[in-house]
Symmetry: C2
Amino acid sequence: MEKEISQAVIRRMPRYYRYLGELLDDGVERISSNDLSARMRVTASQIRQDLNNFGGFGQQGYGYNVKYLYDEIGNILGINQRHNMIVVGAGNLGQALANYVNFEKRGFVIIGLFDVNPNLKKSSVRGIKVRMMNELESFVKEQRVDIAALTMPKEHAKRIANILVDLGIHAIWNFAHLDLELPEHVVVENVHLSESLMQLSYNIANQKKLTDKK
Amino acid sequence: MEKEISQAVIRRMPRYYRYLGELLDDGVERISSNDLSARMRVTASQIRQDLNNFGGFGQQGYGYNVKYLYDEIGNILGINQRHNMIVVGAGNLGQALANYVNFEKRGFVIIGLFDVNPNLKKSSVRGIKVRMMNELESFVKEQRVDIAALTMPKEHAKRIANILVDLGIHAIWNFAHLDLELPEHVVVENVHLSESLMQLSYNIANQKKLTDKK
């Protein structure tokens, strides 16, 4: 990919992937951008613009070949490659991640689960053993780890992220509520649940105002 | 608010709130948009534009009063009001949400936790009793419920969301991996973890390409 594509476009691609997967499951072979637009509730021109970032995929008047587009978007998103993931923080959230079988179906395989809590020492989640933090370094050196999910409290996230990066990990899926400052070659994706909740409460307040006015 | 403000702007507001909160904790009383810009790694003009949507708050040459701006953004986001929340699905993810004490600090109080699993019947999380689904209706009728978080598997989410809306709930925090189709007056905020993971894998693949070229 020569051109840099905006994160707003990238953020929308998994949703296309999901809808195309559902169409495939329904046995749909071909879909026009208008029909896809109606299903996804985005404009047809948005769909065309988004996909044009990657070269288009549609044939004028023929619409999109669902299977082809699904596979191509999967390739673009790097889904068809295996990604080994570790989860650092084996509390409820870390265990929830380890329990999602759908991640594995997409190639995101959790190979290690780490915590500081000695009570978790002999436990495991879906066959994945919980290891103590002092085993982290040797584990990462011995296995190929592509992604580290940080699900520990905010206070420790910064230090742990730096350790992981020093060990050679290039991608962090960060659930701790802070912005990590890491070298440029490290890719970070944040999931800030409390910010999502605040966005919801903004929309609640504003929906009320709209309804009051009616 | 007369004007409709874009969700992209709203999505950025909680981050301002977080940074201003940290400044307050550090005893900073006043900050220029340039200094805030350097801290937050967004352009000063972005900050001014974002805040201008709500009327500005800055005085030319004086910067922003941190406490005032923090409080105002809190008001805009509806944080200073109490929101009663129920969590439907008391698996790992639901329990993780119930365990976040920080939500409560912001006024988001989890008052009920529901599940279909009879093994959870007599359990509780942080003092919040897990109730069975057949208690949902009477509970929602007796309590004021502002937000329902859906943390159950995708297959049930649609049906449960409709039930909740019929019971009068106007806001859904949806963790199930589908788009809910609900009446217009209902506010939905989605957290699609697998889409976040796909965005990460896209960025991993593209970071590799960038690095290879160097």
